[in-house]
């Protein structure tokens, strides 16, 4: 083991994206190993707009494992972290940094303690899959620190044990989580279907919806669905396997009409089985419903889908537009129905890739106020405007997978002390 008198700190920093499922994961067949009842498919979101950055550190001076999330120390005792840590420690390898004079042998990892600092570049509580990105980053960065010699797919199986959907955040682009057959979960891994360049015209707009409802956590929610829904097994065994094949084909062929139809139908069916749970689980609210209605109405008016929508375990809408032009038209519609408060700043109401805003000809609040009703509602009474029902919008796109950040100035832990900067 390294000499305890040495004051070295070894650091690794990584950045990992969030992902949004287009064929949903809902229901575990094994609670402990986190093995799902069906395959799922996701799109990785551009980490420039939504990602977790994590720095992990090891030092002989650390006397216990510690973790900070967005600057605040949190407990590492939860099963999700411990499962991942156990898996990683058992696979850790020898590490040598001659320059710093550090030598850690495989066996040392059982005794050494680690520090972890994690930061989300988006609100953690907003229901934007922060745990998926977080656990993926946790595993990805520790695997590098501990010299875990496993391919990305094996790492995904470790991340899966921290948070199911985290396994899909280990790849960019379009990712499939294969449910697997093995009892030990060894074949329940993520694989990349296509990278983010395969279908790079897609634009993603996330509506962060205000909510006063306390939400059911996805962990307990899916347990209750498995225990009480009489529709879930039919979905998992009969509906999803066919949808997975169709979705893979739609992605392969960049067939937006099929992609949108499957994405919307599967989001709705996931929320249907939540409602079929006892007691019922509601993740979408009236604002979510209004967003669905406006997209459905527009898609129907155009005769072919322009935009797909999908909702995770919360009221936020994730909308996937066919291309930049459609995204601009979508943004006009969203801002027509959900204008910002009159004293708001448009640049804090639309975040992420703001160039979509310029494409849509929306330079400021004045342009938003001047938006005409979209043609598909023209014959109806202009619908009520819903100021304040959406907190803000994030414009983004499909993005790449995890990366290591070599520049130590971006580390979240001090390289001298191993404590948050």
């Amino acid at each position: 083991m390294a000499d305890e008198s040495q004051k070295w700190v070894l650091l690794v920093t990584a950045r990992t994206p969030t992902n949004i499922a287009v064929i949903k994961y809902w229901g575990k067949r094994d609670e402990k190993l986190i093995l799902p009842v069906n395959d799922s498919i996701s799109v990785t979101l551009d980490p420039d707009h939504l990602c977790t950055t994590t720095t992990v550190a090891v030092s002989p001076t650390f006397d216990h494992d510690r973790m900070w999330l967005n600057g605040k120390e949190i407990s590492l005792s939860g099963g999700r972290f411990q499962s991942c840590l156990r898996e990683l420690r058992s696979r850790a390898g020898d590490v040598e940094d001659k320059e710093k004079g550090i030598k850690i042998s495989k066996e040392d990892w059982g005794k050494l303690h680690i520090h972890i600092a994690s930061y989300n570049n988006f609100p953690t509580a907003a229901g934007l899959a922060s745990s998926a990105a977080g656990l993926a980053c946790f595993v990805f960065s520790l695997a590098k620190l501990m010299n875990v010699n496993e391919d990305q797919s094996k790492l995904s199986a470790i991340a899966r044990q921290g948070s199911g959907s985290a396994c899909r955040s280990l790849y960019g682009g379009f990712v499939k989580w294969i449910m697997g057959k093995e009892e030990n979960g060894s074949d329940s891994v993520a694989v990349q279907l296509a990278d983010e360049k395969h279908w790079d015209e897609l634009v993603i707009i996330v509506a962060v919806v205000s909510s006063r409802q306390k939400e059911t956590s996805s962990t307990s929610g899916m347990r209750e669905t498995v225990e009480t829904s009489l529709l879930l097994q039919h979905r998992a065994k009969e509906v999803v396997p066919k949808r997975i094949l169709k979705m893979e084909e739609a992605i392969r062929n960049r067939d937006f009409a099929s992609f949108a139809q499957l994405t919307c139908a599967d989001s709705n069916q996931f929320h249907a089985v939540c409602l079929d749970t006892s007691p019922p689980i509601f993740y979408m609210n009236d604002t979510s419903h209004r967003i669905i209605s406006l997209v459905e109405k527009w898609n129907r008016a155009e005769g072919t889908p322009q935009v797909a929508y999908t909702f995770d375990a919360g009221p936020n809408a994730v909308m996937i537009a066919h291309n930049r032009k459609v995204a601009g038209l979508l943004l006009q519609r969203l801002l027509y129905h959900f204008p910002p408060n009159t004293d708001a700043d448009l640049s804090s109401y639309i975040v992420g890739d703001k160039s979509i805003l310029q494409d849509a000809g929306l330079e400021g609040l004045k342009d938003v106020e001047a938006l005409p009703p979209p043609p598909e509602i023209k014959n109806n009474i202009p619908s009520q405007k819903s100021r304040g029902d959406v907190s803000y919008f994030i414009c983004t796109r499909p993005g790449k997978g995890p990366v290591y950040v070599s520049d130590e100035s971006h580390a979240l832990l001090n390289p001298e002390t191993g404590l948050p900067k």
Copy 2:
């Protein structure tokens, strides 16, 4: 045929209840004959609080069929009325009223015209199964006028062709609509499981929920579900048949815990298949969800169900309380969460059987304002009050089936002219 120079008008008046399904009807296997994809079970609501009154008249002076609903003339050309009229005319019998000197032979009914006036003692547009009560009353009163010699069950098959759930309004108490097997629908009839005296401690409270959403009609909604939901067939074939048996047993044994569990689960599953429709159908809104949450939380706190809830094709909640004491406690909770506007009159906010209000110790608005938070939410932050989200509450109970009203002073048509009074 009766002498055309005679100016006689023959009248029949009847009163028919609404009903609320506790195992839901959703989806037709035959659109024209209105044959459902599964059996359903309903509770008939007390006609003193929710019913349709209909007067039908025949006279040689009428030159075409006419109908008035709530005083306003409406078209009778719709398929639903025409199907019922055709069936009734084909079964009409000889009618003789010696006192008035009226004689109508079986064959005359093909040439004679009728007038119909119908009145709901509750708001028609409030989504309270007005079409079920209305069509049932239409058939029930015309059958008497035309001397249709069929039993109640055969009449239910005629009413079914006007509006599916209307067949269940031909009986009081607890009613089952048997889906039947015959292609011509002859065995798709309603039967009474138990009359209203069988389980007379139940109390029903309807929350009429304010909505700004335009709702999908149940006719087109269920068609779209049949065409697009991948869960409906599984519900109809695998889930409902078992539930029907359990529900019949729960009603037979007055087993409230089972009754409530089945009622809530089936309401939620019906809304789940609506959500699984493309485009998705939302009948419940945030207020509906809050009512479900408050009932579920209370039921859980008590350890055994106190109240069942069920929602039809709209946001209104129908709550069934185990007995009067529970109904009083339910009303306290509903008024705590959904108080009337401060300038409102409590007696127009709680309508129907107001004695529940007195049982609950609520004499006026002051008592409502003084309500403490229910014990099951005590440890939480007192939840936000939702003034205005509920329009009013109706207190009622299971009730009896259709009756003829012999007192001609209650007729809605003038016995001299056959026109609305």
